[in-house]
Structure formats: structure tokens, C-alpha cells
């Protein structure tokens, strides 16, 4: 037996690591993977809470989040490909044509 809060703290840690990945990674694909990590962290929260309330809604939310993540991945990777074609680079630090 493990306290429920362990699960939630674990998901908080994963969410935090996801934000850190967004802040520190330079490769666009990896940054996008960090976002996926954040979504996964939220999923863990949903499943844990679903267990806590002994109801299925939480799991159904996860199902929807996964579909959304899949759709997001398709669009996101397409955008990344388009950017790569235009700029020939995947380094996020070079994506600053527009500023100030």
C-alpha cells in the first residue's frame, strides 16, 4: 500500500521535469517531447484521482487526452517539418525572426 499523494507528487515531479525540458532543451523535437511528458504527468494525476474517487471519469479523461496528444503530435511534427524546410535547422534559439 502506498499513499495516494505519492502518485500525485510523482506526477508533479514529471510535470516539473517536462517544464524544465521546455526551458533547457534546444532541439524543437525534444522540446515537443517535453510537452508530451507534461501531458503524461497530468494523465497520471487523472488516473490516480480516478482511483481515489473510485469512479471511471478520470480514466476517460486520460483517453481523451491521449487522442488530443496524438492529434497534436501529428500537427506539431508537420509544423516542425515545415520549419526545418524553411530554416534548415531544428535549434529553437535560431527561431527569432520576429522580436521586440
Amino acid at each position: 500500500m502506498v499513499p495516494l499523494s505519492y502518485y500525485l507528487i510523482l506526477s508533479a515531479i514529471l510535470f516539473g521535469l517536462g517544464t524544465a525540458g521546455f526551458l533547457f532543451k534546444r532541439n524543437i523535437v525534444t522540446i515537443f517531447m517535453s510537452v508530451e511528458l507534461m501531458l503524461n504527468a497530468v494523465n497520471l494525476t487523472f488516473v490516480a484521482l480516478s482511483y481515489h474517487f473510485r469512479q471511471l471519469d478520470g480514466q476517460i479523461f486520460v483517453f481523451f487526452v491521449m487522442v488530443v496528444a496524438a492529434a497534436e503530435a501529428a500537427v506539431g511534427l508537420a509544423i516542425i517539418i515545415a520549419v526545418f524546410r524553411n530554416r534548415g535547422s531544428l535549434n529553437v534559439d535560431q527561431m527569432d525572426l520576429m522580436k521586440f
Binding site: T19, F22, L23, F24, R26, I31, V92, D93, M95, D96, L97, M98, K99, F100
Partner: protein, 653 residues
């Protein structure tokens, strides 16, 4: 008031004129444009006249349709006619008509003819909406509209960078004031549940006088902020001198006769509120008095003919505001009217001079113009006498009650009277300085032109020439009005009928002083005060005469005539010098160095400029936040999230 006056026609006709010229003016001849524009104003004037004569005892209200009908907020399109708005409408259309006629001549060959008349008519539409509006919100519509037109017209010479800047400065400075008005308007609604004058004013009159600052005081102070912005009072006056870059008829119409007096109108309109908020009233008087004195002193040292008149306008409006501040509302409106006459005349005369000299505005380069511009000269002289408040000119009859009320009113005091009388002296001094330098003495321009130093404009044929009749006729009509316009309000003291006060009384019935006059007075005192003010005015003129007219002539004549008189002349000269060093020089130094350069240029103007620069620099720092880097942006998001979370959770625990 049985008949339907169709008040909406009064502003609408100029609007139609503006639309016509805006849409088809580009392809029409100048003549067609001018006749549409002038015709529209003339019709509007006749309609205003009809409304004026149809005026009864009770205020007349015309409601057209519901503008905003939310559950919690109502406003209508309605117009309101009482003696106050009738007089204002007459002044606006009447003076507007004369200035339009004048502009027909003045603006020809200026380019953008149709645009000019389009804006002018549009301006009249908004100004008449402002004046005739039956509620504060509709008044605000006119209020913002005139600001917009003023902006368009100041920036009329769009090729001049400084003109465009001046337009922007005017727009933004007055907007600061406008928002005072807007907030006042919202507070009026929350206090009285209405914005209609016909409901707000009686409701305000039934409230007790606020001995400490309450909602009424706040409303009145906010309205004062709005009035100060639009009427160029301290400290929001900085835009008006710069606004003189617009064409002269614009300066005459908007920046002298009508728009800038809107602040006075709104205070007079809200008189029922003000008399119940004595602290606000005191602030009004103070602002007005200080502005009157301060702007007049600056007027002494200016050399640009239009800038002198601009400062003079600020100072004269200060007078009116001060009159409102001592609860002499009908005196304020009286001065507003006479001022509209003589100040419009002064501007148009100045325009005539500038026109004759091919664009020259520096009075040090003028002189002796009375021979070349006789009609302008005489009408200008009448205007100067009127502003210097000499009897029997109109300015005398309107300025004198203000000074008297400043002294006897329960809201006034000796301080305000002193400010007023000092200003009167300075006023007559600077206006005659302008007058003598321009029209008397040697013709400097002609000399300069013949020696080729002054590069003449094409319109300038070496010798200054009088303007065409279409420009001089309005001058003469305005001169007649400046002379006789004050006679409608000759007080009982001078065996007059006091018609003016009686006529306007219904408009200020609700502002009847809640307390009786504290200072008792008799006719003898009043006569003494009047004589004092005349004396001061004459002294100002005499001083100006000595310094700017008499001395150079005497010096020239003395050389040719008797040698024995020379010492006397020298003595005279010596006296002048003493005068100069004792009175004038300190005043000049103080006003130039301290007031104009120190306060006006550095502190107030500078602080506005500084504020603008600081704002821009701040903007530069803010935009550096947008570095364009996605990771930095995510950093901002996380930072914001952390702040939000710690705030929310901190509150919760």
C-alpha cells in the same frame, strides 16, 4: 413652448455641409465648396436665431430616440434649450459664420480648400452637439468630436512636421482632461441615476451643500479636470500655444471663440452641482485666477503675434473660469460672448496682417502697418480697446462684473480681485505692445524686403496690402460687435437694464446661491472699484505707448527739432529707463526667465515632454521582454505561473 423647434437641424445642417464637401468637394470648384460650407453655417445660424426667439421661461427639451437602453443604464439622444444653450448656440453659429466667410478669402490658394471647409463644418456639428446636448453623454460626444476636429485642423498643414506634432499634443493633452470628464460622467450617473440635465440639475439642487468633500465635490473636481484640458487651464494649457500652427481662421474659431470655452460652458452648465460643492468651487476660482495671471505675464514677452493671442486667450478663459469659481456664472458667460467677438476679431486681424506680410508672424519685424491696412487697423484697435476693458467697449461691461463679483461673492475674496485687476493691467499692456509694434512705428518689413533680406512670398508684392473685402467685412462686423456687444448687459449701476443677467437667470436658477451675499456693498464702492479697474487698464496702455510707440518717435523727432528740448527728451528717456528697470524689466525677467522658460517651457511643457519620453523609454524596456526566443517565453509563462500559484495558495492558507 408649443411649437416643435426641430433643434436637431441646427447641428445637422453643418454635418450635411461637411459630408457634401467631403464627398464631392474634391471635384467642385472653390466657389461651390465655399457656398456650401458658408450656406450650411448660415442656415444653422438662422435656425439658432429662431430657437433663441422662441425661448420661453422653462427649458425646452427635445428627445429623439433612446441611445442606450440597458437595464441598468439609459441614455437618450436629446437636445436641451435654455437661455444658456441658446446663447452658446448663437455665439457658435454667429461667430462661426463670420469666420467661415473670412476663411473663404483667407484659405483661397492654400490648397486643400474642400478639406478645410469639411473639417470646419464638422467642427461646428460637434460644437453645436456639445452645446445643445440634453445630457452629459451626448455632450461628451460633442466634446470628443471637437477635440478630434481641432486635431485635424491643427494638423491641416500636413507637410509641416511640427504642425502634425502639435495636433497630436493637443489631442493627447486634452484627452487626459476628457477622461476626467468621462469618470465624472460615470459618477454623475451612479449618484443621480440619470445623465439628463433636466433630472440631474434639480436633483443636485435639492442636495445639501457639502461642507466636506463628498461625491459632488469629486464630480465637480473631475469636471474641472475635463474643463482644464479643453479650456487650456493650468496645468493642462500647454497644447494651446502650439495649436497656433493651424490656419488662422481655425485659431480664431476653435482656439479662441468656441471650443476652448467649452470648459467654461460645462462648469456653467453644472452650476447647480458646483454651488453645492464649495471646495470644488474654490479650486475652480483658484485655477482660473492663476491661469489668468500667469498666462498674461507670459504674453508680455512673446514675439509671435499668434502666440501672444494664444496666451491672451488662455488668460481670458482663466478670467471666465475664475468667474465661475466665484459663482458669477452669468458674468462668465457674458465674458465668454464678448471674448468670442473681440478675440475672434484679434485673430482675424492678425490673420489679415500675416496675410498682408506674406506669412510673417514676428511682431518685431512689423511696424507702421496702419497706413497699409486701414480697415484692419481700425477694427484691430477696437478689439484691443475691448480686451483692455475700456468703456464703452464690450470687454469693459463683461470684465467689470467679474472683478466686482470676485470681490463681493461669498466664494470670492480680495485675493481673486487682486489677481484679476493685475491681470487686467498686464493685459492692456501686452495687447497694446502688440498693437503699437504692429501698426505704428516704422515699417520694418518694407525696408527689409527692399534690401532683399526678407524673402517675400509670392503673395507679397513688396508693399503690404489690405485684404480683400470678403475678409475685411467680417472684421468690421466683429468690430461693431466688440464695440456694442457689451451693451446688452449694462448693469443697473450704469443706468442699464441689466438685461443679460435677467435673461440668463432661468438657466442659473438652480444655482441660486444657497447663502446670501456675505459682503454688503453700496453703489459708491462699486463705482470706486470700477474706476480702479479702468485706471489700471489705462495705465497699461500708457505704459505700452511709452515703451513701444512714443520713445522711438520722440527720439527721431528730437534730433530734428529744438535742441533745448533734448534734455527733456533725454529726461523722458531716462524716466523710461527707470520705469523699465524698476517695473518692466523685473517683470519681463521674471516672466521670461521664471514663468515662461522656467515654468512653462521647462517644468510644465518639459514635464509633459519628459513624461512622454519616459513613457516611450519604458515602452522600449517592455518590448525587450519580447526577445523572440521561445524558451524565454516559456520562462515568462513559468514565472507567471509560480507567482500566481504562490499568491493564490498564500491567500488560501
Amino acid at each position: 413652448m408649443e411649437s416643435n423647434l426641430q433643434l436637431w437641424l441646427i447641428p445637422t445642417v453643418p454635418l450635411l455641409g461637411a459630408l457634401w464637401n467631403g464627398l464631392w468637394g474634391k471635384r467642385s470648384s472653390e466657389r461651390a465648396v465655399a457656398s456650401v460650407a458658408v450656406g450650411a453655417v448660415a442656415v444653422s445660424f438662422l435656425l439658432a436665431l429662431r430657437a433663441f426667439f422662441a425661448l420661453g421661461d422653462a427649458p425646452y427639451l427635445e428627445s429623439y430616440f433612446s441611445w442606450i437602453a440597458a437595464a441598468s443604464f439609459q441614455a437618450h439622444f436629446n437636445f436641451y434649450l435654455d437661455p444658456l444653450s441658446a446663447v452658446m448656440a448663437l455665439i457658435v453659429t454667429g461667430v462661426g459664420l463670420l469666420i467661415h466667410i473670412y476663411a473663404v478669402g483667407y484659405m483661397s490658394q492654400e490648397g486643400g480648400y474642400y478639406r478645410f471647409f469639411c473639417y470646419m463644418n464638422l467642427f461646428l456639428f460637434f460644437m453645436l452637439t456639445l452645446v445643445l446636448a440634453g445630457n452629459y453623454l451626448l455632450m461628451f460626444v460633442g466634446w470628443e468630436g471637437v477635440g478630434l476636429c481641432s486635431y485635424l485642423l491643427i494638423g491641416f498643414y500636413f507637410r509641416r512636421e511640427d504642425a502634425a506634432d502639435a495636433g497630436k499634443k493637443a489631442f493627447i493633452t486634452t484627452r487626459l482632461g476628457d477622461f476626467g470628464f468621462l469618470i465624472a460622467l460615470l459618477m454623475i450617473y451612479s449618484t443621480f441615476e440619470s445623465l439628463n440635465y433636466s433630472e440631474v440639475l434639480p436633483a443636485a439642487a435639492s442636495l445639501p451643500v457639502e461642507s466636506t468633500a463628498g461625491p459632488l465635490t469629486v464630480i465637480c473636481l473631475l469636471l474641472l479636470v475635463g474643463a482644464a484640458g479643453k479650456s487650456a487651464q493650468v496645468p493642462l494649457y500647454v497644447w494651446l500655444p502650439d495649436a497656433m500652427l493651424g490656419p488662422t481662421p481655425v485659431s480664431a474659431l476653435i482656439h479662441a471663440a468656441t471650443m476652448v470655452t467649452a470648459g467654461v460652458y460645462i462648469i456653467a452648465r453644472s452650476s447647480a452641482l458646483y454651488v453645492h460643492a464649495p471646495q470644488a468651487l474654490f479650486m475652480v476660482a483658484l485655477v482660473g485666477g492663476i491661469t489668468a495671471f500667469y498666462a498674461a505675464t507670459i504674453g508680455i514677452v512673446q514675439t509671435d503675434i499668434k502666440r501672444i493671442l494664444a496666451y491672451s486667450t488662455i488668460s481670458q478663459i482663466g478670467y471666465m473660469v475664475m468667474a465661475c469659481g466665484v459663482a458669477a456664472f452669468s458674468a462668465a458667460i457674458f465674458h465668454l460672448m464678448t471674448h468670442a467677438f473681440f478675440k475672434a476679431l484679434l485673430f482675424l486681424g492678425a490673420g489679415s496682417v500675416i496675410h498682408a506680410l506674406g506669412g510673417e508672424q514676428d511682431i518685431r519685424k512689423m511696424g507702421g502697418l496702419r497706413h497699409y491696412l486701414p480697415r484692419t487697423y481700425w477694427s484691430f484697435l477696437i478689439a484691443c480697446l475691448a480686451i483692455a476693458a475700456l468703456p464703452p467697449f464690450s470687454g469693459f461691461f463683461s470684465k467689470d462684473p467679474i472683478l466686482w463679483e470676485a470681490y463681493v461673492s461669498p466664494y470670492g475674496g480680495i485675493l481673486f480681485w487682486l489677481l484679476g485687476i493685475l491681470t487686467a493691467g498686464i493685459t492692456s499692456f501686452y495687447i497694446f505692445r502688440l498693437f503699437f509694434l504692429t501698426f505704428h512705428g516704422h515699417s520694418k518689413t518694407a525696408v527689409a524686403t527692399s534690401s532683399g533680406i526678407h524673402v517675400a512670398e509670392p503673395a507679397h508684392h513688396g508693399v503690404p496690402h489690405e485684404s480683400p473685402p470678403i475678409m475685411t467685412w467680417p472684421l468690421m462686423i466683429l468690430a461693431a460687435l466688440s464695440l456694442a456687444g457689451g451693451w446688452v448687459g449694462i448693469p443697473a449701476l450704469w443706468r442699464g437694464g441689466d438685461h443679460w443677467n435677467l435673461f440668463l437667470a432661468p438657466a442659473f436658477r438652480l444655482a441660486a446661491l444657497p447663502t446670501e451675499h456675505a459682503v454688503s456693498h453700496d453703489a459708491a464702492t462699486e463705482i470706486i472699484f470700477t474706476l480702479a479697474s479702468i485706471l489700471v487698464s489705462v495705465a497699461g496702455i500708457a505704459l505700452a505707448y511709452l515703451l513701444y510707440c512714443r520713445r522711438p518717435e520722440l527720439a527721431a523727432a528730437a534730433a530734428a527739432r529744438l535742441r533745448g528740448l533734448h534734455t527733456l527728451v533725454l529726461n523722458k528717456y531716462y524716466v523710461d529707463e527707470i520705469y523699465r528697470s524698476l517695473f518692466v524689466q523685473p517683470l519681463v525677467v521674471v516672466s521670461r526667465e521664471l514663468l515662461w522658460k522656467g515654468m512653462d517651457a521647462a517644468a510644465i511643457d518639459g514635464s509633459f515632454q519628459g513624461l512622454a519620453n519616459r513613457t516611450r523609454r519604458l515602452g522600449d524596456r517592455v518590448r525587450r521582454m519580447q526577445s523572440g526566443n521561445i524558451r524565454s517565453y516559456a520562462g515568462w509563462v513559468v514565472l507567471g505561473a509560480i507567482l500566481l500559484i504562490s499568491f493564490m495558495v498564500g491567500l488560501a492558507s
